[in-house]
Structures are given as C-alpha cells and as structure tokens.
C-alpha cells in the first residue's frame, strides 16, 4: 500500500511509502481535498514520506497542493520526514526551501510500520 490517511484528535496524518506516482496521487488528491474542505476540518496535516523509494513529479505536486490547501484553510502543514529519494527530487526542482522537511531518513533509520 503506497499511502495511509488517518485522523486522530483533529490531526491528519498522511503516510507515503514505496512508489508514489500518478497512479495513486490523483486518487490521493481527491481524498485529501475531501478531508480538508469538509467539516470538521483538521487542525494540522503531517506528511510522513520517510519510506518512499520512488516519487515522480505528481507526488511532489501533491505535497505542494496539500501545503497550499492547508495555507488557504489556516491548517498547519508539516513535512515531518522524507526519504533521501524525495530530498533529491526536491533539490533538483529547487523546492527544498519551499517544502522544508523536519527530518530526512537515511538507510540506517529503522523501518517503521505503516500504521
């Protein structure tokens, strides 16, 4: 499974793993839009992408979209962690300052369960 969305105490957690590409991002965008625009709105959105092994431009666009939606609805957006693969793509696109990750996972970091 490439993504998992959960809401707990008003905090929306989006966990991405494996390959994140156009096949899932279009569906995921609809899910996020529904959650961010319907009541009750989450107070924050946390993205965990530390286990992503591949991400394409649609995946990066999805993160930007989530950040933009959060900004428009006054919801806190945090990019909690990303894998080195994601970091590399962000650096190539010069977006690492716009999508600032709190932590970049390395190969040594323990693999966390999806849930």
């Amino acid at each position: 499974m490439s993504y998992l969305v959960s809401v707990e105490e008003g905090r929306l957690r989006l966990t991405l793993s494996g390959e994140v590409d156009l096949q899932i991002t279009s569906e995921l965008k609809e899910v996020l839009t529904g959650l961010l625009r319907s009541a009750p709105q989450p107070i924050s959105v946390e993205v965990h992408a530390g286990e992503v092994s591949y991400i394409d431009s649609s995946g990066i666009a999805l993160m930007l979209y989530a950040k933009k939606e959060c900004s428009e609805h006054h919801i806190t957006f945090r990019l909690k962690e990303i894998s080195q693969v994601v970091m590399r793509i962000l650096q190539l696109a010069k977006l690492e300052h716009l999508l600032k990750a709190e932590h970049v996972t390395t190969a040594q970091d323990p693999v966390k369960p999806l849930g």
Binding site: S58, I60, A61, K68, A93, K94
Partner: protein, 312 residues
C-alpha cells in the same frame, strides 16, 4: 382546423403556416417575424387581441415582448407557473379558457391594471422538443355571426382555433431554435479560428530563434494544443537547453507552456556563471508557477552544453 382543405379558409390557413415557416427560416430578426406571425394568427382565429411572452433562460420568468390589440403590457413579467400563461408554459399543453373571470388562475388585477377585460383566450406554448421558449395568447374572439355572440359580445374559441394556434406556436419555436443553432455555429466557428491561430503561434514558439548545426528537435502534441516544449539558446560558448512537459493537455497546458518558453528566452543567462544562472532560472520559474495558484505543474530538464569542452 377547417374540415376541407379546399375551402378558402383552409387555403388561407395553409398559406399562413407556409409563409411563417419561410419567414422564420430566412429571417435573422425574429422580433419582426414574431410580430407579423402573432398578427396573422389573430386574424385567422378572429381574436381581438394577442400577446407574446418569452421565457428567460436562467430564471424561467415569462416577459411580455409584444402585444397587439390590447393595452401595451410589454415588459410585464410573470413568475414561473403564475397564471394561465405560467401553467401552459410549465405543462407544455395548449388550452382554451372559455370564461377567464371564472378561472382561479386568471388574475383579475392584471386586467384592472391594464384596462383590458379578458373574456376568453387561447394560450399555446412555444415549444420545440423539450425546449420551452414562451407562450402566445389570443384573446376575446370576435363572433362569426350574431347567433354566436355571447352576452358579453364575444364568441367561443373552437378546437380548430386551438389547433391552429398550437401549430403556429410550434413554428415560432422552430424559428427560435434555428436562430439559437445559428448563433452556436457562429460561436464555434470563432472558437475554431482562435484555436487555429493559437496552434500557429505555438508552432512558431517551438521554432528556436537560432539554428545550431547538429541540434534539432520536434514535438507533436496529442491534441491540437499541447504542453510539451523544448528550446535552446546560445550564451557565449554555452548552449542552454530545456525540454519540458506541462501537466495535462489542451489549451490550459499550452498557455503555461508558452509562459515557460517566454521566461526561458527572456531570462538573463550568464554564460560565465552558468550553474548559478540555471539555479536562478529554476527559482524564477518555480515562483512564477506557484503564483499562478493552479494545480498544474511542469516537469522540465534544464541543462547547458559547453561548446568549448563539450561539458554537459
């Protein structure tokens, strides 16, 4: 309708209907044709007055656009389902109202305000398929003979009158439909022309401003307008190039694509510091795309080739 098609009256009726068809087909000014049609219809059914109401596409309200023989009530509006006119418009079924004053749907204040007394009427919907355009009303039929005269001095509208009114109203609807289609075709023609112009300009944009030996490129969009692009230019001994793809297809992608090329060509490239120049361009392009506040994004390969040492 007259029982025999050979009778003079039948001949008049057929001539009128035929002429209505021709006029509605050939004229672009339906106002004049409507007026003519309503007056002719009045004559055929011996009505003393008539009115034409057309519906607003958005609100469904009926507005009186023409009156003949009665007090001028043009501009008067009826709400949906208001009165006999509103009912006929909603149901799409023509009807004869023999005694208007006894019909609860008929608003007596309407007559009081206009100074006209409605005794009887035919109300026919102007309808084509499922599209309703309005209604036509024919009021207060002249008596054919003294024996047909009511106490009020009017005669009854007949089923033949009703049928004739229905047919005439249908012809009016066809005329309105034809004009709508003509407008739609004209708009489509304008749009096709504008798209062909846009395609031409996009093709010009995809012709790099300079030709360099051994460098060539081509793009073939999936639709008429596309979001794929490429470009290259020379800055001293450096060739800067880009190959990109705007997410999506069609006109929106083409518009963003043209902005990307314009930005690429107008950017102040520095051949002596090409690395920082490339970084600066990406930052500028990112800032521009974010400012659009659109969900679309661009995937682009951007690079440089040194003609001196062939470094890429």
């Amino acid at each position: 309708m007259p029982s025999s098609l050979d009778s003079p009256h039948a001949s008049s009726v057929l001539n009128l209907l035929f002429e209505m068809l021709i006029r509605y087909e050939q004229s672009e000014d339906l106002t004049i044709v409507h007026q003519w049609g309503v007056e002719q219809l009045m004559g055929l059914v011996d009505a003393t007055a008539a009115s034409l109401f057309l519906a607003d596409e958005l609100t469904g309200k009926l507005t009186c656009v023409y009156v003949c023989g009665g007090k001028d009530i043009t501009g008067v509006q009826l709400k949906r389902k208001q009165g006999i006119a509103g009912t006929v418009f909603e149901t799409g079924v023509a009807q004869i109202t023999d005694a208007a004053s006894k019909d609860k749907r008929h608003d007596p204040q309407f007559d009081a305000a206009s100074g006209f007394t409605t005794h009887n009427m035919i109300t026919a919907p102007i309808i084509s398929g499922t599209v309703r355009y309005g209604i036509v009303q024919l009021l207060n039929k002249y008596p054919e003979t003294p024996s047909h005269r009511h106490d009020k001095g009017f005669s009854d509208f007949t089923k033949a009158d009703l049928t004739l009114a229905e047919i005439a109203a249908r012809i009016m609807a066809q005329g309105l439909y034809a004009i709508q289609m003509a407008h739609k075709r004209a708009q489509e023609q304008v749009l096709r022309f504008e798209i062909s112009q846009a395609i031409e300009i996009q093709q010009l944009m995809l012709n790099p401003s300079l030709s360099i030996p051994n460098i060539c490129a081509k793009t073939r969009p999936a639709k008429q307008l596309g979001g794929d692009f490429f470009d290259y230019l020379q800055c001293g001994e450096i060739i800067v190039f880009c190959i990109g793809d705007v997410a999506g297809k069609g006109t929106p992608a083409a518009l963003i694509m043209s902005s990307c090329i314009a930005l690429f060509r107008s950017f102040k490239w520095n051949g002596n510091a090409i690395s920082s120049s490339l970084n600066a361009f990406i930052n500028q392009l990112n800032a521009f795309l974010i400012s659009l506040n659109s969900d679309r994004f661009v995937v682009m390969s951007l690079g440089s080739l040194s003609l001196k040492n062939r470094d890429v």
